[in-house]
Subunit: 309 residues, 3 copies
């Protein structure tokens, strides 16, 4: 069993964006640029990092560049317990088959990275309205068509295909909950995982994606109660949330784990009771994402210790 | 005079609710269940706890179960400087006389618990709308009828009766401010305390109850200036607060003491100038109530130290 | 080059207001009252303080009272790297020439205080609506008339006059960005600084003043990118910010630097790249301003250390 001190709690590289300061895509940037970013993470006390494809698509790197990445990770003292993919739905109408292929290349490299899990989801590229909003979740984004059973079946079969590949190399697949997708509610997420029906597939209960929305949300403990039994990986973040009954306005904003509307002390303890032993990845949007992630990492360790781990 | 390090600053057990995880009322749960909850509090560094009746109604416990409670409290290293009652108005139309009786039984047990104060208020059971709201204070709750002088007099006389009993056993009574009750504003609270007219009765200036409301609030320092001279106990919590002049929306949410709209550094220093020596009880709703309460406890100690205590 | 540990990071005395608790203007209060307030600052770990004229107008003190101030500052162990002026526009229609004169007297005393920079701005006295609002920025305040070229030229020439005086005594002038003034946007601020055209004049990128407003804001990194090259001093504060697209409501509130909508880790690092070596002044409104300022001071030092300083 993992202990509070050694539990893998990674920083998501998402907050660095997909380019260096001068606009060079990270994929084309020298390893020195990667090192500078990874060193910031290590300086904040992280010993684990998630090199999401929103930062650097490791499946698309040449072997030599991948070797460079392994070197700078090692020099920064960072291990990689997980790799997350972002906005690369395997049923994207235009790029789905490319994203499926990239998924396979990430799974191929997961063992060499030391990653135990690769995370997939069905959110798609930001719309222009999302890209120009104060927070991208304030504008409407991609919706999976729940009535389109053919695409649903394709989604299930492609995730199953990734899962079978992952099983062959000893890796788990996790499915990220995200509004308006096949994994958009606890019910839908559980059903999708059951339809995939593979032992090495679980859920990523990233309910921060839901509680920040300016729309009604289901009861939060009830949502977790449904998905925690299937949880094998965890993008964890929190939000302040309020509603104004008189006008119908919502107000939400990113906040450290301890302060937000989700009681993560209770939820993490419940996950442990249900056998959760997976990787945590600290995400945070806007503000000093990295600084808040470091605060959250310490919070998670404290909660784990409090739970006797 | 109390010092910063030894000042009683209790966690309110309210955040554990009234049942164990499996739905058993805490009153019927084995002492082992109490122990597990109290140990969480102790693990966060608390040395004091308020066993509010919203958690476990100590006045209704049999002698042997009460003895069990004393044992687990002792084993957890927790003392009990105060006992708060919640939503058990002694003038509740249906249960008022029961609640009065329970109040007496709590006072009876206060000395053996080591409690120096028992807190009463006039808020009543949550309405269905409150129970289903994101935050219960977003929906309208019970209103005391300020024009009903007969009930007002009954409230005064029942609190006086509790106060006289409490005086006999060396205990203080505190009256919790709460919107739309006889203690709903600073003016009303002061008047009520004066009408009760007992030396061992003071106010619990829980103004967090007011500043979170989606309605105009009085000037905060002015409210405290009125009630601090009568304050003998303190449910302390804070909220972020904003208003949108163009639409009339309000936005408030629970936040750690240092961050919210009430400047507790200034208010606590002012209370000390006025002679406050009472117990603090850290309350917090939603989110990780217990984690925030622990942060708040350290904040209060720092403010007390800064004030030379 | 300054290092993280020794970088001047001052508390703004603004949070103490302009009078003592009993209503005596600080200018008329005994030095003992100043000492009590400054000691609170020192007790929170500050080694630097900004004695803004909103607290105590040092230019208006007699020589003997100024000597008293220097003594209590020394006894409290506080140095004064900067002096900020607040709501004393040198083109105030009624008091502009007085405020210009006070500005000169502050510059005269800056060297003896050890201050390297004096900050000026064009915000004017709070309107009654601002003074009675929950947050003063929720009501409309003074607007500089951008079409009135005569007053604009007077503003430029008076700041130039202050700058020339400041240069003679080895002091910098900084210009505080504030909505609806000549320094109300990044574009305007850069243009104004260029029009003043003095080597010892720079900008104070107090963008917290803008991001808290209930109106659309420009892209935050873009704003900083324009003004950081001219920045020589920094009133630093942060806000949570949200907008509700359906109703048009805004919700903002003061929050610690690490948590707010501005990513100060990124912005401070960028400022350092551009050569920033100036003083930081921690400001915060509402809540426990001083407590949050102390948290922010430690945050800034951590970010500076992370940037290799």
């Amino acid at each position: 069993m993992r202990t509070a001190g050694s539990w893998p709690i990674a920083a998501n590289m998402l907050s660095f964006g997909s380019t260096t300061a001068d606009g060079t895509p990270n994929a084309d940037a020298p390893a020195e640029a990667w090192r500078a970013q990874l060193q910031q993470v290590a300086d904040l006390g992280f010993t684990e990092v998630d090199p999401t494809d929103a930062w650097l698509s490791i499946g698309e790197l040449s072997d030599s560049r991948f070797a460079e990445l392994l070197t700078v990770l090692k020099e920064a003292g960072l291990s990689v317990p997980s790799v997350s993919t972002t906005r690369r739905s395997v049923v994207d109408a235009r790029h789905g088959s490319d994203y499926l292929r990239f998924g396979h290349t990430i799974i191929d490299r997961a063992p060499e990275l030391g990653a135990e899990v690769v995370s997939f989801g069905f959110m798609q590229a930001l719309t222009p309205a999302q890209a120009s909003a104060l927070w991208f979740w304030l504008a409407d984004g991609h919706h999976d068509d729940l009535g389109d059973t053919e695409t649903y079946r394709l989604a299930v079969s492609r995730i199953r295909e990734l899962a079978d590949h992952a099983r062959d190399v000893g890796v788990q697949i996790s499915l990220e909950m995200y509004e308006d997708t096949y994994l958009g509610t606890s019910e839908l997420a559980v059903r999708f995982a059951q339809d995939v029906d593979r032992d090495n597939v679980g859920l990523n209960p990233d309910l921060g994606n839901l509680v920040r929305l300016h729309r009604p949300v289901e009861d939060i403990p009830t949502m977790f109660e449904k998905v925690l039994p299937l949880t094998n990986f965890w993008h964890i973040k929190n939000y302040a949330r309020d509603e104004d009954p008189a006008t119908g306005s919502y107000a939400t904003h990113p906040t450290p784990l301890v302060q937000g509307v989700v009681n993560y002390r209770a939820v993490i303890r419940r996950a442990l009771e249900l056998g959760f032993e997976g990787v945590f990845v600290c995400e945070h949007y806007g503000s000093d994402s990295l600084g808040v992630a470091a605060i959250n990492r310490e919070y998670i360790r404290e909660v784990l210790r409090g739970a006797g781990r």
